[in-house]
Subunit: 402 residues, 2 copies
């Protein structure tokens, strides 16, 4: 006789409240309000609040299929385990930058966590003029600390290989491999290209120099297991206020190239910058330089203090690592920009530009930057050169590398 | 109540015969002879023959510790599973180059396989003057076919990540990380340096240019999961005759950089060449150029016919892959050479040179080549330049890259 196992069932607003009470996260007789607030592509997100006490929690549940597409595209529920385990892992190193986890249930793919609704999603806030002055300082620290801590420089290689095994995440990696690194570079049915931009897209699809470098970046993503990545660190995966920053949604976490997380943050910040008027752009350009500066300083300090690799003290090895992470980051930023202009999932702040000529110009500029980041990633020595390239492109000039 | 599981027990020559009969690999009343012939560092190897029928089999059993060191250094028995699974995987693509597997038992860490005693171990044969004219043609094909088949170019990335999981092998990787990539580059207690060569070793240990490039190669080994490697493809892992070649002992198999297997074969062939008189060297230098030529042709054909990557047809991508594999291979060959001169496990053919001045000269030449392969790996455009470097070094000249 086999004992019956709990089997997956999707929560409703009603059963979400029942769960919250069962977990004793509220008084049994508290008046609770529940709303499903998920706007992502993959999950249900229930916000349960007790208005009388001004307290709330979040119950996130993975669906066994891709929500935007429907039941025809099944997707592993294990991503809920990956997500909560990644958040727990990040919390060891930067508890201040991740939500607190109260409860997880692997069978139901449920994570119960801190309610962050006093903060806003950064992509949304940036689109409405917020600047989040500490955002890049916090994200630079988040990236350096989480990525260093799970690299071969902080862990013995055997311990690292065991941790990588826990974050075996091939189904989610495949989504990135396809929708970031492949489809946007070809005339693929899942792309979303405005008619008038089709010649721009076609020029990229026929650009053998671009395709060769894009292929190398895809291979780097697929093969370089350097550290435990967040895996999807765009500005929609970050909650913030002027004082606080919280990284959410690491369901794409896996062992990959360190530059990927850095590049995604830079790309999405740059897209928000492009969507703004020039006079409002400075705060976002600052974030691009600041995130890398803070990453560099924090990573270098950790390297000097905690590096367990026998080669740690070799002259030039830290500098080589930073240079290689940076070049990867610039290239990955390029891949992310191209896919946010021509792929399936666009940058909402750019799509929100209603004036056609302006929106198309922004997209053309983004595409030019994305291509150059991919093709010439080794020529960008620092984030200030990314800013310069952006300034050249928005003036209608070609990108010149001095 | 828990049912008792079979628990590990080391075979003796007597119980090995009992097993062979139980498996019905011989007639129940056959007269069998068994000898333990293992001369490796990690395992017991029983050869069981039926002299009357001129038939034999091999029973290999992993020990739960490192044999040369003793019970103080435990080592996972799972390596027996890795080894037999790797042989089965290789057999899908190149059955002609691996022994047939008759039976495996994971709990006892036993693999029963084809007896190859009509062949000789290549390292031993090369030391006694054999040339194995087809060796490099066969190994070039073995490498290209096994490595291409398990790369992202032949498998979807998700399927590849699942296969990589099966070959999770951190304990054996750690041995390579330490004994190939780390200890020989530092003044480590496990090294074995002839007194008179100590200044040569110390010069390497203080050579920051070398150490930086050695560090990068170690990181490549630790992080680049490109294909299922043999993982220990020196000339002691190959049986051959003038007509036949069989690769054995893939217990170090794991997902790693393609150039590693290529580099180990080249390094060990080159060490055998250095151990010979100049007049007898040509056959071995031929193997160094031939293995890469055959690899290139075979890998390129597979690429054109079977590449599933969307970027396969991009101009220059195949050439880039070959160039990158080659540069890695040259560097890894350098790491292997250095460790075979100054590390724990030396090249037996060089150690066998009884005349001191000659042996020391060979070791110095090997060290000079190893250093140059590591430091200048990107300057070696083809195997003919490896041969040229060897010829320069044995003449007492410096290595010049034109």
């Amino acid at each position: 006789m086999t004992l019956s196992q709990p089997s997956y069932e999707a929560l409703t607003e009603h059963t979400a409240i029942t769960l919250a009470k069962k977990l004793e996260l509220f008084d049994s007789n508290a008046d609770l309000v529940c709303h499903e607030i998920g706007d992502g592509n993959l999950n249900m997100v229930f916000r349960i609040t007790e208005p009388a006490a001004q307290r709330g929690i979040i119950i996130k549940q993975a669906l066994p299929y891709v929500r935007v597409i429907g039941e025809g595209w099944p997707l592993t529920l294990n991503r809920a385990v990956i997500e909560s385990e990644a958040l727990r892992h990040f919390a060891k190193h930067v508890p201040q930058f991740v939500p607190e986890i109260y409860y997880t249930d692997a069978a139901y793919a449920i994570t119960v966590m801190e309610d962050l609704s006093h903060l806003t999603i950064v992509r949304t806030g940036l689109a409405s003029g917020s600047t989040y002055p500490l955002l890049s300082t916090h994200i630079g620290e988040f990236l350096a600390k989480t990525l260093f801590a799970t690299s071969d420089f902080a862990m013995g290689p055997q311990e690292k290989r065991e941790l990588a095994l826990q974050f075996h995440n091939p189904e989610l990696c495949k989504i990135t491999e396809n929708f970031v690194f492949t489809y946007p570079l070809f005339d693929h049915e899942t792309n979303d290209v405005e008619d008038i931009l089709r010649p721009t897209a076609e020029a990229l699809w026929n650009d053998q120099v671009l395709l060769l470098e894009a292929a190398k970046l895809k291979q780097t993503f697929m093969t370089h297991a350097e550290a435990l990545l967040h895996g999807d660190l765009h500005t929609g995966s970050i909650f913030a206020s002027d004082e606080e920053t919280k990284v959410i949604d690491p369901e794409f976490a896996f062992y990959g190239p360190i530059g990927f997380d850095v590049g995604l943050f830079i790309a999405n910040t740059l897209l928000s910058a492009l969507a703004r008027e020039e006079s409002d752009r400075a705060a976002l350009l600052f974030h691009i330089t600041q995130v890398w500066d803070v990453f560099t300083i924090t990573f270098s300090n950790l390297w000097r203090q905690n590096n367990v690799d026998d080669f740690a003290q070799v002259e030039g090895y830290l500098e080589y690592q930073l240079q290689h992470i940076w070049a990867d980051a610039v290239g990955f930023a390029g891949s992310e920009i191209i896919r946010r202009i021509f792929g399936l999932a666009h940058a909402r702040d750019i799509e929100a530009i209603t004036e056609d000529a302006h929106r198309l110009a922004v997209k053309r500029n983004a595409a030019a930057l994305g291509r150059d980041f991919i093709v010439n990633r080794s020529l960008y020595e620092s984030p200030s050169q990314i800013v310069q390239a952006l300034q050249q492109v928005v003036k209608g000039a070609s990108i010149v590398h001095i």
